[in-house]
């Protein structure tokens, strides 16, 4: 029996890396283990080579490979990485001042400030994602179908024994997977950096809030992705569909607010009105704003990332009276954003259904 001291001696000897390597080469159990591992890897590879993959996943694989290799995606990724680290930088520099100023030692959601804090020079992380997310979705989807039509590959692929919807479903799945992986790795990177820099780990609730925020962002991008896929089916030219998608995005982010403001001014109740009327008016304007997906997204993210937000509509004095000025638990925050979430999902599903129907009924000719 080898004694403990023997093992300890061996371990001490192995502390120096070159010694350890030397020893590993001569130990029989090491070679046995490496042989077994490489044998296992070979059998896995062999099985994968022999396996018949469902055509749907073949398309997904190809689409993901295309996205990841494309210039377009890499430029967008670079842009998002840049803004992500920019906002991380501003939030961390402000975090120091903020904590010094507030003197509130036991802010339970200190870590979330990483995602929301800004000094006004650069918007915080979630606003950036809200702004660039649509661009990403549009970028990944605007030529999904029409570029294949233009290149003459669509009719060739459709002549293979696959169902027609595999193609759009797979394209959607692939883009969604790429976006999901990207957002989650970005979000976790920001968390990791924040942890390293400020030295405070997130609580479980904060972590969950960030995860929900990332899920929501993926969903939001999925909406824009579906919209651009729909346009790519509708328009034969990739440029037309890209421009239309960007036009819709611009309309919703810039002009829609102006139009709502105009309507608000026209409908403004004049003189003496009852509080009920005033609340109804406010509610109406708010609902008009909420037609826009970006508004839904902003509402939902702020509620998730700023736990002290307790309502997204107007609150009367009676409702606010007696409320304890403490942050909401995660479940309650989720309850508040539930309508927003459903709205986003509904918009995504509508776009998807429209593209599905128009693609299924389409006659596929070459070029």
């Amino acid at each position: 029996m080898t004694s403990i001291t023997d093992i300890l001696k061996e371990v001490r000897y192995m502390e120096k890396p070159h010694n350890a390597l030397e020893q590993l080469k001569v130990r029989p159990w090491v070679t046995r283990m490496t042989n077994r591992i490489s044998g296992y890897m070979a059998s896995v590879r062999d099985r994968r080579m022999r396996a018949v993959v469902h055509p749907f996943w073949v398309i997904v694989q190809k689409e993901i490979a295309d996205h990841v290799r494309s210039w377009r995606f890499n430029v967008l990724l670079f842009l998002i990485l840049l803004t992500c680290f920019g906002s991380l930088y501003t939030s961390i520099t402000n975090l120091m001042e903020e904590t010094a100023k507030s003197k509130d030692d036991n802010d339970p959601f200190f870590f979330l400030k990483l995602f929301t804090l800004s000094d006004g020079t650069l918007p915080p992380f979630h606003v950036f994602i809200g702004f660039l997310g649509p661009l990403l979705g549009i970028g990944l989807g605007f030529d999904a179908i029409n570029s294949e039509q233009q290149a003459g590959t669509l009719s060739r692929i459709m002549a293979q024994p696959i169902h027609r919807d595999y193609l759009i479903n797979a394209k959607f799945t692939a883009a969604l997977m790429v976006i999901g992986i990207m957002f989650f790795s970005l979000g976790f990177l920001v968390m990791g950096f924040g942890m390293v820099i400020i030295g405070i780990p997130p609580t479980a609730e904060e972590f969950l809030r960030v995860v929900f925020f990332l899920l929501l962002s993926v969903l939001y991008v999925a909406f824009w992705l579906n919209l651009s896929v729909l346009l790519s089916i509708r328009f034969r030219q990739a440029a037309t569909s890209a421009l239309t998608a960007i036009a819709i995005w611009l309309f919703f982010t810039v002009f829609y607010q102006i139009i709502v403001n105009l309507i608000a001014r026209a409908l403004m109740p004049s003189g003496a009105v009852s509080p009920q009327q005033l609340v109804g008016y406010e509610q109406f304007i708010l609902n008009l704003m909420r037609i826009v997906p970006s508004q839904l997204y902003t509402d939902a993210t702020t509620t998730l990332l700023v736990p002290s937000v307790r309502s997204l509509g107007p609150l009367t004095m009676e409702q606010a009276y007696g409320a304890i000025p403490s942050p909401l638990p995660l479940g309650q925050s989720l309850m508040i954003v539930w309508p927003q979430l459903t709205g986003l999902i509904a918009a995504t599903v509508v776009c998807f259904a429209l593209s599905y129907v128009s693609f299924m009924r389409r006659e596929i000719r070459s070029r």
Binding site: P55, T153, R156, Q160, E363, R365, S366
Partner: protein
């Protein structure tokens, strides 16, 4: 059993009738040429065979399967090369084929083996790792043929496969198709508006104008069907009259009395005889009996060109009425 069976197939786009009540059967293993001018409805018919568009009326059965109801099963057995086929330009030719192979549920190992064999077969083994975007037109077409063959099809449908390839490339391509059809017993349906190419490779030809199949059969049958009213055979002879005008006159009158001869023309030593059937032997005997020298004797059969032109005249009329 017929491998392709179309019954009363009709496709309308609004008021425009693209395919009009088409009946067509194709036997297993034959090379069938669908010949017609642009916009005759050839591509639409092919799309309906593959279930890529739905017929307004009628029935399509390919390999005994209804293409409208069960297109997947049809597409498993039928390879389709669209006109102006496209490939993913950022992938190499081999990668493009591997993708198709895997869409046809081949494992990676099988796919690699089959793709490499086919690339060899179409002569693209040296360009296999080149990006498909850098392929020439002829190479792309050959890659398209390999792409069609990846699924081991029973039927291949080629839509204008020779468009835009140089003459040498066309000949090689067509030879490749014929060899494939003979060796692997693949039924080939080839649509084209190039008569000579169709004549070169097809066992049977269908002439397709304005959504209607005007005639079908092999070239001889077609010419017979078409020119039965007039002179399907033209016999030309060179005669050495040598100033013997009387003998020539006698020959002409004896020729006119031959059964089946419709017209006789004589012009400076050359005879042109139009007839309803092959009367070459009788003409030769008459010339020899007349004592004149026979320098040459030839019979001219109608080619697809003449057939096509004849039908195309009809097509113009159809074009006006449609």
């Amino acid at each position: 059993m017929h491998i392709i069976d179309l019954k009363g197939l009709t496709k309308r786009y609004g008021n425009f009738v693209a395919v009009d009540n088409l009946d067509l059967t194709i036997q297993k293993g034959e090379v069938f040429g669908l010949l017609g001018p642009n916009g005759a409805g050839k591509s639409t018919t092919i799309l309906m065979m593959l279930g890529l568009t739905e017929p307004t009326a009628g029935e399509v059965r390919v390999c005994g399967i209804d293409s409208t109801v069960n297109p997947i099963e049809v597409k498993r057995r039928v390879g389709y090369l669209p006109d102006d086929v496209g490939f993913y330009e950022h992938l190499s030719g081999r990668e493009n084929l591997l993708y198709t192979a895997r869409l046809n549920r081949l494992s990676w190992l099988e796919a690699e083996a089959r793709v490499d064999r086919l690339l060899q077969r179409v002569g693209l083994q040296d360009a296999a790792s080149k990006k498909a975007g850098k392929y020439s037109r002829g190479m792309r077409q050959r890659l398209g043929l390999a792409d069609v063959l990846v699924k081991n099809p029973e039927v291949i449908i080629l839509d204008e496969p020779t468009l835009g390839i140089d003459p040498l490339g066309v000949r090689e391509f067509l030879e490749l198709i014929v060899t494939l059809s003979r060796e692997e017993h693949i039924t080939v349906l080839l649509s084209s508006h190039h008569l000579h190419q169709v004549q070169q490779v097809c066992d049977r030809v269908g002439i397709f104008v304005a959504g209607k199949l005007l005639a079908q059969g092999n070239i001889a049958a077609l010419s017979k069907a078409l020119f039965s009213d007039g002179e399907p055979y033209i016999i030309e002879a060179g005669i050495n009259a040598g100033g013997n005008a009387g003998a020539a006159e006698a020959l002409l009158s004896s020729l006119r009395q031959l059964a089946g001869v419709v017209s006789v023309q004589f012009d400076e030593g050359s005879l042109r005889i139009g007839s309803t059937h092959d009367v070459t032997a009788d003409v030769a005997r008459a010339v020899v009996l007349s004592g004149l020298g026979l320098k040459r004797l030839s019979i001219k059969e109608y080619g697809l060109d003449d057939i096509y032109n004849r039908y195309f005249e009809g097509g113009e009329v159809y074009g006006k009425t449609a």
